[in-house]
């Protein structure tokens, strides 16, 4: 059947407020879930799982986190990577220091720790806005990374804060193979994405967006600025924290604080700009785009420009392409890939009979 909503009448408000009100979308969604949840781990090779699929999922989660704060609640942050660091090191310490700590509990605790730190650095947002706040979040970025390096306790006295993630074991099963790590990551990310979607489509999300669009009006209607903004900081940091923990445990295994630098924070910001500010799906699209682009360039640039240019050229070329794309998207499609996808669907709805 073609992609149509004709003939699908929504009889109740419950049906009208579903995540996918159109049947074809719902089917498409479940097909995607099956493909990425079952087919991909069965069919993919190790390189794809380790170098592309797992990082895409993890960065999607971080991007959802930033999107909640920046896209929905309108508070620009340049410190997402630092909150990932908090999550990664918190998980490490919980597992290290508490005997028999279950992995999933450690993951939640890591998120909560990040949320707490997020609230602390979110406090200035009650008084300042816009790029003033952005500068304040730089404080979080630099301070947190510094603290993790400088206080050896965080990394169990390892030099320059490098830690190696412990084995991931859930109910006696240890996740060793890339396939199993992928499936674990997939399930966690999918669940958290669903929870995020639910939040943003209900009163919590409306409060965030109201504060974003017009804070005075939001207050006059009865939203409490403090509560709303701090909740956004907390939830956002929770997501970034869990993403950071997964980054350490199911992706690279060995992490150091310096790895969660300003550059990574910018990357996550780029993900939401390119993917779509204020869109959960956009977070996935943006993460995929930003993870795939360098791999694509690595393979394509030498072919076009010849091999002689060296690695420096490619990485600088990448910088230019990244920056250029950001400017391009901000000018041409500020709502990013998610919006383009929307437009494509609308076209499809009319096809083959455009009016």
């Amino acid at each position: 059947m073609l992609y149509r909503e004709a003939g699908q009448f929504k009889a109740t408000y419950a049906e009208d407020s579903q995540i996918f009100p159109i049947r074809q979308d719902k089917i498409g969604f479940w097909v995607l879930m099956l493909v990425f949840g079952v087919a991909v781990p069965l069919l993919s090779n190790e390189y794809w799982l380790k170098a592309i699929l797992i990082p895409v999922l993890i960065f999607s989660l971080a991007a959802i986190g930033l999107n909640i704060l920046t896209g929905y609640a309108g508070q620009l942050s340049l410190g997402s990577a630092a909150f990932m660091a908090v999550g990664a090191f918190a998980a490490y310490n919980f597992i290290l220091r508490i005997e028999g700590m279950p992995f999933l509990v450690a993951l939640v605790l890591a998120g909560l720790t990040a949320a707490l730190v997020g609230i602390m650095f979110g406090l200035p947002s009650l008084r300042i806005k816009g790029f003033y706040l952005a500068v304040a979040t730089l404080a979080a970025q630099f301070f947190i990374v510094w603290a993790l390096v400088k206080f050896p306790w965080f990394s169990n006295n390892s030099s320059s804060g490098v830690v190696t993630a412990q084995d991931v074991t859930i109910l006696g099963y240890t996740f060793v193979t890339p396939e199993s790590k992928y499936v674990l990551t997939f399930l966690i990310v999918a669940l958290m994405a669903l929870l995020a979607k639910n939040m943003v489509r209900s009163s919590t999300g409306r409060a965030w967006m109201a504060v974003r669009d017009m804070d005075v009006a939001a207050q006059v209607i009865g939203f409490r600025l403090m509560r709303t903004k701090l909740l956004a900081f907390a939830v956002s940091s929770f997501y970034c924290g869990v993403a950071g923990a997964l980054y350490a445990y199911t992706y690279i295994g060995t992490v150091e604080p310096e790895g969660f630098n300003l550059d990574l924070s910018f990357k996550i910001l780029f993900m939401i700009i390119i993917g779509g500010v204020g869109s959960i799906m956009g977070s996935f699209l943006g993460a995929a785009f930003i993870v795939l682009l360098p791999i694509f360039l690595d393979n394509v640039v030498p072919v076009i420009f010849g091999d002689s240019l060296g690695a420096g050229f490619v990485s600088n070329f990448q910088l230019i392409v990244f920056g250029g794309l950001i400017i391009f998207f901000l000018i041409v499609e500020p709502h990013g890939l998610a919006r383009l996808w929307q437009i494509a669907k609308e076209k499809l709805r009319l096809w083959p009979f455009p009016h």
Binding site: N198, M199, R206
Partner: protein
């Protein structure tokens, strides 16, 4: 008239408000009675909007006291005013531009919604039930204001007149006791104005909502107000029923002196 005008519910005493050197309001006293339509008029920059902002806590006056339902009100924040049942619309439309009409109006019900963010995250169950219950209320407002066909439209795409109507809808969704309207008919054509007048009168009549209205159109003001207060350069120069105000020499002078 069926409705019965009640006791004083908002009482402002000797209010003064300054912004740096600008005196927006000087020593103003007036009150609002329950169920009435109270208008504030005056030339541009007279301090009308500032008055509404003082009533619902957006601005805090340097001097004076405000009594609400007989109780002295200390420095009140806007969300506290909202909790007390004060809703309003703004002179320059203050809708949430990135949201649909429906979502904008739903925000009006936030104080009546009790679920927390964890319940929202889980959604199915309490949060969904609550969402639907409030959606039903919102649909009533949508129907009342005759904006059914634009519910899913992002507000940014609507023409000015409709945006003003959506803003009223958002305020009404809160089921307020007191409704503050800052130039709800500005920039509308005659037909739209008539609609808006009808809505205001209906709200006042059906729900007994007290209304404080700022409006430049004298015809409308004199027509629908119970009492009118006149400001000029931040000072009160007249107060009373429309007839009284119309014949007040100082008011006439203020209005002849300006371009009105």
């Amino acid at each position: 008239m069926a409705r019965q005008i009640g006791d004083v519910i908002v009482d402002l005493q000797n209010i003064s408000l300054r912004f740096g050197g600008v005196k927006a309001l000087t020593d103003i006293s007036f009150n609002v009675k329950e169920h009435e339509i109270r208008s504030i008029i005056g030339p541009n920059g007279a301090g009308k909007s500032s008055m509404l902002n003082v009533i619902n806590g957006v601005y805090h006056p340097q001097e004076g006291q405000i009594f609400f339902k007989g109780a002295l009100r200390k420095k009140m924040e806007p969300h506290e005013a909202a909790e007390q049942g004060i809703a309003r619309t703004f002179q320059n439309i203050a809708l949430f531009k990135g949201m649909t009409v429906l979502d904008n109006i739903m925000t009006g019900r936030n104080l009546k919604m009790k679920c927390n963010f964890l319940q929202h995250a889980l959604y199915w169950g309490a949060a969904q039930k609550e969402e639907i219950a409030h959606r039903i209320k919102v649909e009533e407002v949508i129907e009342f204001l005759e904006i059914q066909d634009i519910r899913k439209t992002p507000v940014g795409r609507l023409p000015y007149g409709l945006q003003k109507r959506v803003e009223l809808a958002r305020a009404l969704a809160a089921e307020p006791h007191i409704l503050l309207l800052d130039e709800p008919m500005a920039g509308m054509n005659v037909e739209e104005k008539q609609d808006m007048c009808r809505f205001i009168l209906d709200v006042n009549d059906h729900y007994g909502t007290t209304i404080v209205l700022i409006e430049h159109d004298m015809g409308v003001v004199m027509d629908i107000s119970d009492r009118v207060v006149v400001l000029d350069y931040g000072k009160k120069i007249g107060d009373g029923v429309p007839e009284e105000v119309k014949n007040n020499p100082e008011v006439i002078k203020a209005y002849l002196g300006t371009s009105h």
